[in-house]
C-alpha cells in the first residue's frame, strides 16, 4: 500500500508540473512576444469603418484591464494565474458579451464525448486485433489488417478527415459532413436530437478511430510477437495450456501494461487530432472554438481554450496513470 501511495504522489507531482509548465508556456508566448494582443484586438475591431481616436484610447484602456496587462510584469504574472484559477478569461470578443468560460463549457461536452468514445474504441479494437495478429501470425485476414494499418497510421488526422469528407460528402453522400446535430432540433434528451448527434458524429469519430486503431494494432502486434518467444509462453505451450488462455492471460495481459503507458503518453496527440477533425467537420467542440477564435482575433477565447486543453489533457493522463496499477500489479512492489 505504501508503494502505491508514493506512486500516486509522484503522479500528482508530475500532473502539477505539467500544468505549471504548460500555463507558463502560454504566459510566455502571450506576454514575451513583441506583438501586443490589445493592439491586435483593436485593429480587428477597427478594421471596418472609422473610429474616433478617443474611443480607441478608451478601448485600449479597458482591454488592458480586461487582459490583465497593467502594472509590472510580476503583477501581470500573478493576475494571469489568478484568472486561470478562477477560470475567468474575460468576455469573448467574437461572441460579445458572452464570457469565454461559458463558450468553453458549451463546447467541452462535445469534445469530451467524441474524444473518449474514439479513444476507447480504437484502443480496445486495436489492441485486440493486434494481439491476435501477433499470436496467429499466419492468418491472412489479420495480415491484410496489418497492411491497412501500416498505410493509415502514419497519415495525419487532417488528411484522413478530408478524404472521408470528400468520399462521404461528394462521392457517396449518405452521412452529414458538417455540424454537431441538425439545426432545427431542440437540444436535450429527446430521441430525434440524440439520433442526429450520433449521425453527425460518425465521420469525425471514424477518422479518429481509423488512425487510432492502426497505431495500437501495430504496437500491440510487435509487443505480442516478442512476448510469444519468451520462456514462460513456450513453457505454457509445452505444458498444453489452452491456446486461448495463453493468449489472454499470459500474452496480452503482459503486453497491456506498455500499451496503457502508451495511451497516457499519446493522449496529447489524440487531442490534437480531435481538434483538427472537429474543425474539418464543423463539429461544435473545443477545436472549432479554437480555430474560429484565431480567425476572429479573439485573444481571450484562444488563451482560454489553450489553457483548458492543457489542464484537461493532463487530467486525462493523471486518470490513466492512477488506473495503471490495476493493469500492472508490479507497481505496488517497491523497486
Amino acid at each position: 500500500m505504501r508503494a502505491y501511495f508514493s506512486y500516486v504522489c509522484k503522479r500528482l507531482a508530475q500532473f502539477v508540473l505539467v500544468v505549471f509548465i504548460g500555463i507558463n508556456l502560454t504566459y510566455i508566448i502571450t506576454h514575451a512576444t513583441p506583438i501586443d494582443p490589445v493592439e491586435q484586438s483593436i485593429s480587428a475591431v477597427t478594421a471596418f469603418g472609422s473610429t474616433a481616436p478617443e474611443s480607441i484610447a478608451e478601448m485600449r484602456r479597458s482591454l488592458q484591464e480586461l487582459y490583465g496587462l497593467q502594472g509590472s510584469w510580476f503583477e501581470q504574472y500573478v493576475s494571469f494565474w489568478k484568472r486561470i484559477v478562477r477560470a475567468d478569461f474575460g468576455p469573448s470578443l467574437s461572441a460579445f458579451p458572452a464570457p469565454v468560460s461559458s463558450l468553453i463549457a458549451r463546447a467541452l461536452p462535445w469534445t469530451l464525448g467524441l474524444l473518449v468514445f474514439a479513444t476507447v474504441v480504437s484502443w480496445v479494437l486495436g489492441n485486440l486485433l493486434g494481439g491476435l495478429a501477433g499470436y496467429y501470425r499466419k492468418n491472412m485476414g489479420l495480415k491484410v489488417v496489418g497492411v491497412i494499418a501500416m498505410g493509415l497510421h502514419p497519415v495525419p488526422y487532417y488528411i484522413v478527415a478530408l478524404v472521408l469528407m470528400i468520399i462521404f460528402g461528394f462521392i457517396w453522400p449518405v452521412l452529414p459532413i458538417t455540424g454537431g446535430s441538425a439545426m432545427n432540433l431542440e437540444h436535450g434528451w429527446n430521441w430525434p436530437f440524440i439520433v442526429s448527434v450520433l449521425k453527425h458524429s460518425v465521420l469525425p469519430a471514424l477518422s479518429l478511430v481509423l488512425i487510432g486503431v492502426g497505431s495500437w494494432f501495430l504496437g500491440m502486434r510487435s509487443l505480442v510477437s516478442n512476448i510469444v518467444t519468451e520462456d514462460h509462453v513456450v513453457y505454457a505451450e509445452v505444458a498444453g495450456v489452452d491456446s486461448r488462455r495463453i493468449l489472454g492471460s499470459y500474452v496480452i495481459r503482459n503486453a497491456l501494461a506498455p500499451q496503457v503507458t502508451g495511451l497516457a503518453m499519446s493522449l496529447g496527440g489524440i487531442f490534437n487530432g480531435a481538434v483538427i477533425t472537429e474543425k474539418v467537420f464543423g463539429y461544435p467542440g473545443m477545436g472549432s472554438l479554437l480555430v474560429d477564435g484565431v480567425y476572429a482575433g479573439d485573444y481571450g477565447l484562444v488563451l482560454g481554450v489553450t489553457t483548458i486543453s492543457i489542464i484537461g489533457v493532463s487530467l486525462g493522463v493523471l486518470v490513466i496513470d492512477l488506473l495503471y496499477p490495476l493493469i500492472d500489479p508490479r507497481i505496488q512492489v517497491p523497486s
Binding site: 509548465i21 496529447g268 481538434v275 480555430v291
Partner: protein, 288 residues
C-alpha cells in the same frame, strides 16, 4: 553501410517499398529546379485545365500547373521536416545522453521536464504561437518552434540506451583513462545511439510534416511559400472539390500520403534491423 543497405533490400519488403516511395518523392522535389514556371506566379497557364498531355496533373483555378507547383511544395515541405528533425535531434541527444549517463537528480529533473513535453497538447500551443505572431510567423520560425517542442519522446528513448551503455565495461575504462563526461558522451556513447537517432529522424519528420500540413491547411502559416498544406489551403479557398477541380486537391494528398507511408516504412524497417532478434527472424535464422 552498403552491406546494411544490401541486407535491408534483400530481406525486407517494407524497406523496399518505403525506399521506392521516398525516391519517387525525392525525384519529384528535385524536379522543382527544372520548373518552367516560378513558384509564386499565378495565372501563368490557363486555369482549371483537367489532367492531360499538356499539363500532367491539370492546372489550378489560380492558373498554376499542379505538377510543377507540387515539385516546389514537396521540396519545401521536406526541407521543413528535415530542419525540424535535425534541430530536435540535437536537443533530444543532449537531454537523453546526459540524463541517462549522469542519472540521479539530473536525470529526475530532466525527465520530469521531458514527460511534461510529451504530455502537453502541442497543437493548441502552436496555434497560440501563430495567434500572437501572425504575419511574423515564417516557415523557418515555425520549424524552430516545433523543434523546441518535439524532442521529448525521442530523448526518453535515447536515455534508455544511454542508461544501459553506462553499465558497460568500456565506459568504466574510459573513466579510468581520464576522459571527461563530455568526451565519453560524444566519443563513446554517441556512436551507439546513432542508429536509433536515424530512425527517429524519419518519425520526427513525419510528425512535423503532418503538423505543418495541418497548420497550413487552416491558414495558420506563411501561406505564400508553396508547401503541400499551402496547396490544399488554396484549393479549399477556391472550393476546388465543389467546383469539380478535383485534381488540385487529389494530387497533393496522394503525394503527401506517399511521403508519410514511405518515411514510416523506412523507419519501421530500420528499427527492425537495429534489433538483432527481429533482424534474424526476418532473415530466417536465429531463435524462433
Amino acid at each position: 553501410m552498403t552491406a546494411i543497405l544490401r541486407d535491408l533490400l534483400r530481406y525486407n519488403g517494407e524497406f523496399r517499398i518505403g525506399l521506392l516511395l521516398i525516391m519517387a518523392v525525392a525525384v519529384m522535389s528535385g524536379l522543382s529546379f527544372f520548373s518552367p514556371y516560378p513558384p509564386n506566379d499565378v495565372y501563368v497557364v490557363a486555369p482549371d485545365v483537367p489532367p492531360g498531355a499538356a499539363h500532367w496533373f491539370g492546372t489550378t483555378s489560380r492558373g498554376q500547373d499542379v505538377f510543377w507547383q507540387l515539385t516546389f511544395a514537396i521540396r519545401n515541405t521536406l526541407a521543413f521536416g528535415l530542419i525540424v528533425a535535425v534541430l530536435s535531434r540535437i536537443v533530444s541527444l543532449a537531454v537523453g545522453l546526459t540524463a541517462g549517463y549522469l542519472g540521479g537528480w539530473v536525470d529526475r529533473v530532466l525527465m520530469a521536464i521531458n514527460d511534461t513535453f510529451i504530455v502537453i497538447p502541442l497543437f493548441p500551443i502552436l496555434i497560440l504561437f501563430y495567434f500572437v505572431l501572425r504575419d511574423s510567423m515564417s516557415t523557418l520560425l515555425l520549424a524552430v518552434i516545433m523543434a523546441s517542442l518535439g524532442w521529448a519522446y525521442d530523448a526518453r528513448l535515447i536515455r534508455s540506451i544511454a542508461m544501459s551503455l553506462k553499465t558497460r565495461e568500456f565506459t568504466e575504462t574510459s573513466i579510468f583513462s581520464g576522459m571527461t563526461t563530455r568526451e565519453i558522451l560524444m566519443r563513446e556513447h554517441l556512436p551507439y545511439v546513432m542508429p536509433v537517432v536515424f530512425s527517429t529522424t524519419l518519425n520526427n519528420m513525419n510528425w512535423s510534416i503532418g503538423l505543418e500540413v495541418t497548420l497550413a491547411v487552416l491558414g495558420f502559416m506563411d501561406i505564400n511559400t508553396p508547401t503541400i498544406g499551402g496547396m490544399i489551403y488554396w484549393a479549399n479557398q477556391h472550393t476546388a472539390i465543389v467546383a469539380g477541380v478535383w485534381w488540385w486537391i487529389t494530387f497533393p494528398i496522394l503525394l503527401v500520403v506517399m511521403t508519410f507511408v514511405g518515411l514510416y516504412l523506412l523507419s519501421v524497417s530500420m528499427n527492425e534491423y537495429i534489433d538483432p532478434r527481429s533482424r534474424l527472424a526476418r532473415m530466417g535464422g536465429g531463435a524462433q
